[in-house]
Symmetry: C2
């Protein structure tokens, strides 16, 4: 029995210019272009192995050790597109094995807890699509592959590239020009770091797909955002990345997060993702930037209360003077920094303490369950860490 | 020694179409028209007595028993305008006493605690201006008087009328057409009631004047709100009041509150007035309306976390089935309702309890410090309850 396998990883990305609103729900075509930073896979990644064999009776998926359904229309659309490309390839090169119609086994694991509330679907669909593309030895470039990942989960299309990524919304109704492109590779601006404050939430708020639909249909301000605000910001943000202009990048990032959440609030009924902890972190970042007299950090919030704080490595001690002081009781620091390094953040704070003219809430850490300290990272990677055995079943079972 | 005195009251008003943004800071000219409901003075009013005498050495103000400064430019502008009108009157009728240049004593008291965080400046400036206009026996109509109150505090112009009031923004740079007009008197739609949940806040957030300036200068979405969203909503809301169409009035009111807070969030740095308690009340009102299959209540929020909930008297038991159940531990019910009446709200809730398909947060009352139960009310009123003695000084001193 022949079993073909392939394995790849894919990263999480956090948008700095937000995707919110679909012009086509089935194809996941957005109402505006967006930009993201791909995060390091050392901290956040999905690892996916795929296997195919003539003997497999059906397509199967195991996610974090548990069998899950592949029945969703989105997943089916991805599989269909990948098989179509493989069939085309097999027709053009008759020497290739005819595997396009064989069933697939997909085994996937995240290296971060799902409970963190970090949208894992982007990394998940990017890894799934890239792994199968690799298995099928598809010759298409990553922007082409990104269109398939997009059908699984809109923001997944941005996870097929590392570094700084734009998702060009496109004009076509079939989505053929709605794809991810690289704005700049990780190496262009490698000192971009991210501190994620995982904010405790009562429960999952409005799911993003239904939230987007509500906003598109009911928010009066949303139309202005997509027509006037985002197109201008998209060009400005790309420029700020190319010029490595952190102050501009940070301001645009913060403004766009606020603009997105404003259209959520302007929806009817209104949608709230930011909670009181999120808002206190926002105020902290503004107060900190003002205190230093320069923009050392930028916040951004997806469809949830978690704070993602971007900053440059050279400003880490300035940023962590505040963040470590306020959140040192929360898990996540020790795995990244030695006790000596952590004590430098405390010393840094002690130095400036007396000149801080705004109140620091020493209870703020109670709203945060963990910190994830990471940085800009690369795109999907090959790995030897295969999750399937020789028979094409999960090794872990 | 001759001392002339006059006394009047003025009500609080709560906007249902929000005033947010000034096109002229000194004249308090708004960037958009607004609409409000005047609340009953039984519950919320300012009582102001004024006295004038040739013997007074200076203008003086006592507010809630404490002497306060009259030095603010806004107050000075009001006094100047009123004196100018009195001078004109004195010139046209030489038989009148020449009191325009005499100094004024102003004594003012609110019947509600300032700590409630209810913008008392509207009632305060309306009472001040109306009391002096009465003292001066000015022949101008209330819309003319509203322009003077506007210079004291923008929303004060709406407190010179009872019932349902529009503030027409006007076009002129001198503010001569920026005035309040009556949309409908209280008697037109007398069954409009309001439950105010006074939400506990850590501290006073961004003051509204500086908040407005930040929004006007930095929010991209704000321009769309004032150019496209509000003008249409202004006409629709007036129509809903004239037609006594509560469902439409309620939807427009809720949408406009959300739109205003969305532009605050879109400001840079962002401005937050709603807290987690405010948001839970918003969700409750939407869930309650959905539960009943009809719009029985509408929320609105000014520049703070307090919920103002409008509803019609005939729906009170439906609305209070929820509100009394959730907030009965909070003060404010007993002064309005007998124990028997309150128990009917509990019974009403018991009847529907099992069919409520959404969670009720039994800790929500902890975010609320008191409830104020009131209704639509009339405009400024004459009263015998004079606060100054025969010498023109506060009786309370």
């Amino acid at each position: 029995m022949v079993v073909y396998t392939a394995t790849t990883t894919a990263p999480v990305n956090i948008a700095t210019l937000k995707y919110w609103g679909k012009r086509d729900k089935t194809l996941n075509l957005p109402t505006n272009s967006s930009i993201s930073v791909t995060l390091s896979q050392d901290d956040l990644r999905t690892l996916t192995s795929v296997a195919t064999s003539e003997s497999f009776p059906e397509d199967k998926l195991w996610l974090n050790g548990k069998e899950e359904s592949l029945a969703s229309e989105r997943t089916q659309n991805c599989l269909k597109d990948l098989r179509t490309l493989r069939e085309k390839l097999e027709k053009s090169d008759p020497s290739l094995p005819k595997i396009a119609t064989w069933k697939l086994h997909i085994v996937s694991e995240n290296n971060f807890p799902t409970a963190a509330g970090l949208a894992s679907s982007a990394a998940g669909f990017a890894a799934l699509v890239c792994a199968i593309a690799k298995l099928y030895q598809l010759p298409e470039d990553m922007s082409e592959i990104s269109k398939i990942a997009r059908k699984g989960s809109g923001s997944a299309c941005r996870s097929v590239f590392g570094g700084y990524v734009a998702w060009e919304m496109g004009d076509e109704t079939d989505g053929s020009d709605s794809k991810a492109v690289e704005v700049a590779p990780r190496e262009h601006w490698p000192n971009m770091k991210a501190a994620i404050l995982v904010v405790s939430a009562d429960k999952k708020d409005t799911p993003s797909t239904s939230g987007m639909q509500t906003t598109v249909q009911t928010s009066d301000l949303f139309q202005w955002r997509i027509k006037e605000v985002v197109p201008k910001r998209f060009e400005e943000m790309k420029k700020s990345i190319i010029e490595k202009d952190f102050a501009t990048f940070a301001e645009l990032t913060m403004k766009d997060s606020n603009s997105f959440h404003a259209t959520c609030l302007d929806s009817y009924p209104p949608i709230f993702y930011l909670n009181d902890t999120s808002k206190k972190v926002i105020k902290l970042i503004h107060a900190m930037n003002e205190f230093y007299g320069e923009t050392v950090a930028a916040y951004t919030y997806d469809a949830g209360p978690n704070s993602v704080i971007y900053y440059l490595e050279e400003n880490e001690s300035k940023v962590f003077a505040f963040l470590y002081t306020l959140f040192n009781k929360v898990q996540g620091w020790e795995s990244k920094y030695s006790t000596e390094q952590l004590s430098t953040f405390t010393s840094e704070f002690e130095k400036i303490k007396s000149s801080i003219g705004f109140p620091l809430d020493d209870q703020l850490y109670k709203g945060v369950s963990r910190v994830i300290l990471t940085k800009v990272g690369g795109g999907p990677e090959d790995t030897d860490d295969c999750l399937v055995n020789a028979e094409g079943y999960p090794k872990s079972l």
